[in-house]
Symmetry: C2
Subunit: 625 residues, 2 copies
């Protein structure tokens, strides 16, 4: 999940590693603190209780009882280890360190002498190793091991987990490849992991193996049993020929992350063209307003163009995360704000809804409409999402800014202190202070700077209608830069302060009329946040289904410190429709007269905070009258 584009030849923007980014007091530091103090330890207990650690012990010979499925249980450990590795960089914690070492000890002991490591196939079906490539998830597990190992090595400087990962990667490289066995991983993940491993180790073999895996797709080479079709496995057409995002959403997004990573290293324009084409298809036809993807429960899959139902939306938390991973790589390649915009939408909406405010409960599926009865469970039988959320929160600092020769680009407005090398004589140190996303003021203080001039680029969000930038006593209107970057090039001095003011105000979002599912409805938003109604905030006894929004009335936004840990609430005028004239029927002839409406005040909260006060009715898209 990490990405180090510092030496990638085709990266326009370079990554600032996490040890050079410290989150300061603000919206996200609070989330990181809960992640550190609550979630990562909660996960450790769950990995014990759910049998993940015991599965490894069974492989070692010290386990008890039966193997606990699914077959990719090892990945929960890997993602958690990756999250812990990120978190320990800036926040040493002896207890977490010990937990991580316990896991690494188990992995070291479980690994076979030939480098193979997969608790399921070692314990349950040793004769099936590398036979069930479609659904066996061995390469998917290997990919997550590699990602954890790279994070652990890069940030902690420790090679023990990296050695395990390299031995497994070497085993895989000895098994699959040109002149060896064909392979199409049933669940993409290892591709971008191998690219990262190649970056970390400076070993081009891993890069070539990733290329081989991507190139093999779409030629009918999938091996092993699967209940799903080739589109599900991203194997219907060769990657470069793909015209649309399709099939299993997480698989599609992980694959595109790998494709973008391969472009970053090799510069093959046909890979970038495919990634761009599929991005356009997703963003223009198949993405929810929350940046969630995957319209269908069956196959956890993309639907057809404009098939975006609110109630049966899938929007797996892992898919939103994978969407951010893909977009982060596209941002590194292009430097274009649209990718950072999408990451912002995902972070504050489809991603953050995946975790409860208390950090102990998780959504797998993130619908945009609930008729009630939906709450976040503490864990899942298939628990891919919770540790994926944890590693995402732990590496958040990563998304704030990037560099290029003579330039610093700020993408996400998160209170933090950054240190970056712009290729000039001397480091750049800056401090970002902001009450974002509740208020739109961002103060950026230059704390250290080379004497040579450099460019500061600040993303002006695409939803922004008015923004000003003040630097060195001069104020400029940068509203026209919405959807791109406001840029200031000068010889900065320590102590310089740049102040960006993005107007945050409640607004209405209209859906494309081709989306049948939300026709005649609007969504409320405030800055990067998509809003929703929960029934408990509305007049008593009213079903959310019967509320109508008045799009012509002014919207009121106010911060409420007492609500949901402190959020901006939106008030809107609307009506409740009296449904009695329908007499319990579903259909009736026209003309039927005007609906009977009673004026009401609607109260909306940020979508990501829903279902934190019980399993209430919820809806993002509010019908007009």
């Amino acid at each position: 999940m990490q990405i180090d584009t510092a030496r990638s030849p085709f990266a326009r923007l370079k990554t600032i590693q996490l040890d050079h980014v410290h989150l300061d007091q603000g919206f996200w530091s609070g989330r990181q603190e809960i992640n550190r103090k609550i979630s990562l330890k909660h996960a450790y207990r769950k990995l014990h209780d759910s049998g993940n650690f015991n599965n490894l012990k069974l492989a070692i010979g010290t386990g008890e009882g039966e193997y606990r499925k699914p077959v990719f249980m090892d990945t929960d450990i890997y993602k958690w280890l990756e999250a812990v590795s990120y978190d320990l960089v800036n926040h040493p914690d002896a207890a977490l360190e010990a937990m991580a070492n316990e896991a690494i000890d188990l992995l070291a002991a479980a690994q076979q002498p030939d480098g193979y490591l997969n608790s399921y196939f070692q314990v349950v079906e040793p004769e099936k190793k590398w036979q069930e490539i479609a659904m066996g998830h061995e390469l998917y597990c290997a990919g997550h091991l590699i990602e954890a190992a790279v994070a652990h090595h890069r940030l902690k400087g420790k090679s023990r987990l990296l050695d395990i990962a390299c031995r497994f990667a070497d085993h895989i490289d000895a098994t699959f490849g040109p002149g060896k066995r064909d392979v199409v991983p049933g669940h993409p993940e290892i591709e971008h992991a191998l690219v990262e491993l190649a970056r970390e180790c400076g070993e081009p073999r891993y890069l070539r193996l990733a290329e081989f895996m991507v190139d093999q797709r779409g030629h009918g080479k999938m091996i092993g049993w699967t209940p799903f079709d080739t589109a599900y496995h991203q194997d219907r057409v060769p990657v470069r020929e793909a015209q649309v995002v399709e099939g299993h959403a997480v698989r599609q997004m992980y694959l595109l992350s790998g494709v973008a990573d391969l472009y970053l290293e090799g510069g093959d324009p046909s890979l970038l063209a495919a990634a761009e084409r599929l991005w356009q298809d997703m963003v223009g036809r198949k993405m929810y307003v929350t940046a969630g993807v995957g319209a269908r429960h069956y196959g956890e899959a993309f639907g057809e163009a404009y098939e975006l139902p609110s109630d049966t939306a899938y929007c797996e938390t892992c898919a939103t995360i994978a969407n951010m991973m893909f977009n982060w790589r596209m941002l590194a390649i292009t430097g274009e704000a649209r990718f950072a915009d999408l990451i912002e939408t995902a972070l504050y909406n489809g991603f953050l809804s995946g975790i409860s405010l208390d950090g102990q409960r998780y959504f797998y599926v993130n619908p945009l409409l609930s008729n009630g009865g939906i709450e976040r469970p503490e864990w899942y039988g298939c628990a891919c999402c919770p540790p994926n959320v944890m590693r995402q929160i732990a590496l958040l600092g990563h998304y704030i800014a990037t560099t290029r020769q003579g330039g610093l680009q700020v993408h996400q407005y998160i209170s933090s202190s950054l240190e970056a090398d712009l290729g000039l004589a001397g480091q750049v140190k800056v401090r970002l202070e902001t009450p974002y996303p509740w208020q739109g003021k961002v103060s950026l203080t230059i704390e250290e700077t080379p004497s040579a001039p450099w460019e500061l680029a600040l993303r002006i969000p695409s939803w922004c209608r008015a923004a000003t930038l003040e630097a060195g006593g001069s104020l400029s209107d940068v509203s026209a830069s919405a959807g791109s970057y406001a840029r200031l090039t000068r010889a900065w001095r320590a102590g310089d302060v740049v102040e960006l003011k993005v107007r945050l105000e409640p607004r209405l979002i209209q859906p494309n009329p081709r989306v049948d599912a939300v026709r005649g409805s609007m969504a409320l938003a405030y800055g990067p946040l998509v809003y929703c109604l929960e029934a408990g905030d509305q007049p008593a006894g009213v079903s959310l289904a019967d509320l109508r929004l008045d799009p012509s009335a002014p919207l009121q936004a106010a911060f409420r410190a007492d609500l949901l840990g402190g959020v901006v609430e939106i008030k809107a005028h609307g009506w409740v429709e009296d449904m009695s004239s329908w007499k319990g029927t579903l259909y009736r002839p026209l003309p039927a007269g005007s609906p009977a409406l009673e004026s009401v005040e609607l109260t909306a909260i940020p979508y990501h905070t829903w279902a934190n006060r019980g399993p209430d009715q919820m809806r993002v898209w509010i019908p007009l009258k």
Copy 2:
């Protein structure tokens, strides 16, 4: 599927058997003729080609090759045999008769000495007999055998198939029941079949067995492996406690048919109350405007209340058929027009869309919106629907009219000749002549009558805004009877003519605003027919998604003999929306200006005729501007 309520103590209305109903030239006789000449013979070939007959031969010991799944392949034969039995009543056909006898010979030879008969378990898993009740479908197969046998005996007067069925039923009765084994059939079907068998044989044991099976539900007694939940199997709660229709739609509707049948024989008010409650839930919250049911592909299941997406609608043809079966029984119980109304809606829409105009291709799934690419295949690997359509068309005469002491009730306006016993001295013979559903005139001629007075009841469809009834020179406005029956009681004389005129005109249907999926849209209808747009009928190069309907402009209907075998076409005024201002995006802020619209004429065809000219885009619900 047949039902003989003639001796049912709790039937308000009595069935007229098919040998007393002859379809005359008209809409449905054409369908029956295609069924007879094309479909039933097409099915015979498919039953050979798909291995159904060979499966039975494998059970006998004369088959070749492998068993061909699914496990309920026998039912395709049974449903086809049932259809053939109905059809032969009024249309002797030596070739069809020989085909049916060939099948019966195979069944007789395959049946075990103990009465057991199921090719799958006899051939493939003999050790699993009666062990996989959840998914094994043995009792489902038995139910269809019984239905075929009852039809064959009742209408053909032949006992050979009935003997096979009774021997199997006796075997089942010896295996399951109080003091024997518990049993919850994984797929309801045998329940109403056993009630019919009890009626046909005058054997109360079969009735008690059906009661036992219904009463066992909802107590955690399902046996055998299943990937589905208890709701899918109609086993989540006891039948009498069920509040909502849920789970697999065909299973739910077959179960309710059995429940209604048990009420017809035993009069248990708690059964009728449950059936009525679930009917209300279905009709008021979970049924498509086509009378299709089952909103979800996953589990072929009912969705939540108001979850009625058009594109991903399931609406299995078998579910619409099962819906008619349930409603037919409710009509017999109550005599209320709402049940006959629903049957009419199903017949002309969700059911009839299941078969192509040429009688050789079949829909399993009947969506209300297609983005193109959907056509009826000739047959299915799981071919439950095609022979179910065939038996439905073959027994259509059944739905036309019923009797009660001193009364004849006409429910469906189909050209036909009927002979009925109203419990008076002498038979009633009537002839119905009508160009329905294209024109609304129905002439009913009394050809023979007892001298005693009797009541003629004519259903005035609920959608009808104006109707007149002329009898004996007096004309009366019966518009107020829409949704119930216009009733005439008099001493009829042979030669009397009653003329009903139902105004047929195009109209708009508005959906309940709680149905998010079709908000801001209207459907077109004409009489009982729901209409749809196909792209090929609209201005060239326009996507159906961009068309808007003008609900204030007059609608024009005209019969077009050259179109789709002769249909009434509806023309409406509308617009095409220029989507270029969206620039390929899915969401945008308000205000965004008015949509750019260009006036166009929209052309609609009956929904059931869609996809007969290629796999075009189609939509039933048309957005307003």
